[in-house]
Amino acid sequence: MARMKFLCDSGRCIECNACVTACKNEHEVPWGMNRRRVVTLNDGEVGRERSISIACMHCTAAPCATVCPVGCFYQTADGVVLHDKDLCIGCGYCFYACPFGAPQFPQTTNYGSRGKMDKCTFCSGGPEEDMTPVEYQKYGANRLAEGKLPLCAEMCSTRALMAGDGAVLEDIYRERVVRRGYGTAAVGWETAYGPDGEGNTYEPVHPPVRS
């Protein structure tokens, strides 16, 4: 089985936001919810400015899953971290724990719940049956089930953002770095997957059973 990962090559990312709107287009993500975003570092500093597209990194040992008080997260056989919106209580803990700010909530301030958490699904839906309307309504499109990869990466204007099997991504990135002679670690890679290949072995976590 492949271990799905994202990798954003800051040597290529131009902050065009294609990944952001592709995501909105594909999943009809409402205003104010940002499953994916582009962050610019060292804005305006000559030679140091870089941009990175970031979303849920589908971490190995995902912090969100650990802190969830109701245990609504699971990790698929492909390594994709998903959650069950029917179980989510909107407490917001996952956002505090997430190193990448991935979880999004429909309500910014609340009295009670922040609403069901929403985040990048690696275009692979949720616990509902694949490619059903109910799955689309809750989690968006399930491209993985269609044999496609996440649209953000598929549409990335400069092929900065890549999605797919982690080992393959690493090879591509390494080759790029060798070819062009610059580029260091991919941002967030180690935070999400641990050092060198650690994240390639993991135990899938089964979806919670709803009674």
Binding site: D78, V134, L149, D165, V168
Partner: protein
Amino acid sequence: MLIKRSSAKPVRKTLSGHLASTITGSGIDRRSFLKGTCTAAGGLAAMEMLPGTVRKAEAGPMQPNVPVELRKNICTHCSVGCTVIAEVQNGVWVGQEPGWESPISQGTHCAKGASVREVVHGERRLKYPLKLVDGTWQRLSWEQAIDEIGDKLMEIRESSGPDSVFWLGSAKFSNEGSYLYRKLAAFWGTNNVDHQARICHSTTVAGVANTWGYGAMTNSYNDIQNSKCLVIVGGNPAEAHPVSMQHMLRGKEINQAPFIVIDPRFTRTAAHATEYVRIRPGTDIPVVWGILWHIFENGWEDKEYIQQRVYGMDQIREEVRRWTPEEVERVSGVPGEQLRRIAQTMVENRPATVIWCMGVTQHSVGTANVRALCVLQLALGNIGVAGGGANIYRGHCNVQGATDFGLDVSTLPSYYGLEEGAWQHWSRVWEVDYDWMVSRFASKKLMETKGIPTTRWFDAVLSDPEQIEQPDRLRAFVCFGHGGNTVTRMPEMVKGLADLDLLVIADPHPTTFASIPERRNGTYLLPACTQFETSGSRTCSNRSMQWGEKIVEPIFESKDDYEIIYRLAAKLGFAEEMFKNIAVEDSHPLPEDILREMNRGCLSTGYTGQSPERLKMHMRYQADFDKVSMRATRGPCEGEYYGLPWPCWGHPELRHPGSPNLYDTSVHVMEGGGTFRARFGVEREGQNLLAEGSYTVGSEIEDGYPEFTMAVLRKLGWEQDLTPEERRVIELIGGENIDDVSWQTDLSMGIIRVALKHGCLPYGNAKARAVAWNLPDPVPIHREPIYSPRPDLISEFPAIPDRRDYRLPQLGQSLQAAVAQRNLQEQFPMVLTSGRLVEYEGGGEETRSNRWLAELQQNMFAEINTEDAQRLGISHGQWVWVHGPEANSRARVRALVTNRIGPGTVFMPFHFSGYWQGESHRQYYPEGTDPIVLGEPCNAVTTYGYDPVTFMQETKVTLCRVEPA
């Protein structure tokens, strides 16, 4: 302990479901019916990833009886021409997939392209025709709208003549729409017809065409992958043409190519530069000459190339001599050492490509800027070489095509100009009597006089009619697909707008023009659909034509441009003549027929081989084209270049492959090779203007030669190669003077065919002109902007003397002197420049109405350097007033404190409007059509200043003052 799941209700209603129910009346969910068809293998390969890492689809389509249709169109935003693949169900656009097969975009998009589906959701589009009655919008039927508009136009024509109507077309038209609109203006009887090219790259077209023959990007986006050095001047492709950056960054990576960015602003493109040069806005020529100074000084120029293919380089040398490193630094602020490094880098990494955009063109010296860059490339021998070239990134999706098809005040389609010969040629193509054509105009003289350009239309409304070289001032303005906040001096523009008798806006959105409260009557809004709702071809910046297929029927009551133009022509009484060769079905002209007529007439640019059939074939077999060379390696298009980039000579049956790189002599002409165009005679002041010892591979004439006419054919003894039918047509055209029939007017295309047969370019083989003697500045020289921050330099580098052109007076030196005399730079101590954001485009009405894009940029802002902000007591995000030096203009915007912009300079994006001097104009939009995001237009504070050749407005440098609000 079972508790029923309570949250089974959808978290959010999907928009497609919502849309489906509003449009088709039945709820359809996008993914319910998706086929399991899998493009992942191709996708993965294109993403430089291996297939087999993705699970195959197991679940099939949910409702197999509702099929998904894939339709292919082209993104309607910038000129890169990304393929849009639409998934359509029951006539509803339900999803978008990457167009992996496109050789240009290879599946990718930018923020705009990835959200085009929202355009056709159309929540904020114009839904039906409207007219403004005493300040309120009233709905009316199409018939009534066309009737009322037509009657008013005829009334104006009666009392003031046809030149009192200004026809503004659009770079958002298809080629067919552009051509038809130009034809409409011609049949109406005026040359007052223009479009966005005036305000973005008119100076490029003028500068480049006057240097080597054609006004277009010489190479292609893909070809940049062959570059050994990239120089980007006054351009920010990372925001304006993001998808082009994939080719540029690949070139940078594969070739280890230096990436040099010259710009006053440290842009997102510059973030990827290996060398960034910050210049003072408006000093491009000193910087270019400063680079060339080092090249000449060290003898790095390509001497053989110059001797064979360039005219007048010695005069350039004279001018360049004064631009020593010290002098350049004094004027532009760029250290001499840095320019030496750049010169050396360009020399050591050949070929270098030079890429430029509006930072170069939108100046009162725009044409000269362009020409200086051309000369730089000529000196290095980089033109006509794969990996080299002058790569001008055009702005809108079809601005190249619209320019080519003559949406311009100074020419008929295909750059034939306005002379009698041009009108006769087109009268023959249109099969109308030339004399009838003349009778449509106020006079033969006005028929051959350049019209009023879009940068100055309001001056032609407000001026004393005595000052305008036409019978009366402008009284009506018919505007198709054009923003209202795109030209400088908006306070004047608003006055002009208020004074119009009639304003007609045909657009998917109401535009800024409709939201000006000064107008209370006589405005009509016609809902035009987008190119996704019709079919037709568009020309990308690299001259490739792509055929877009209709994705969905026009939404609401909107109609496509063809039909609106047809209805207007019918109302105005010349539809029969105008559509003689074009099939019209139920008021809808067939775009294929329009293209066929264009193929017949556009000989001079080689727009003849691109028949609708060939274009559709290319779209269908996109996968067969190589991703770098753009040449098909297999399939029915084998050997052809993608989109048949013009010139694509002769009849379609000739199967010319198109010309991927212009002026490339290393390739046979039938393989797309070319020479510099012999457009300016054969000799000047005793100097040979034809090429010397340079010719395309396989040419039977191994030297320079003039353009082909019957006389030349005869002289060469190639006359007998003409078929009897070709000869008959030539005789018909030439009459008495058959010798005068040239390749440009020979409708049989026989002369072209014969020239090609002998390996020659129909347009001749000449030298490029480093000196363009017909321009106001034959050798580009530095001139300070009108509103110069350096009045101490204006005596040395004065603006152009006051003059007249385009039926209007143009101020130059006198205004510059007055500005300096009033010491305006003390009251307005900052330099203001403007530019683009990736999320928005042009006037921004369409993109600011797209919620997926609008969310990303919710506020109009001005970028201010940290030092300046500190000095002025301005903090990040705070409201500030930006004051302009003309008409007490001011704009209230948010401060974006950043070092992207240099000290002393302010940057504002130009996409915003809907606020005016701090006041919202939201209530003036027709209900439900106001864009989501409104903001102050940056052009509210920009000022006077026009390029003498094209009347391009000077948006890129003026003065301003920033104060906390």
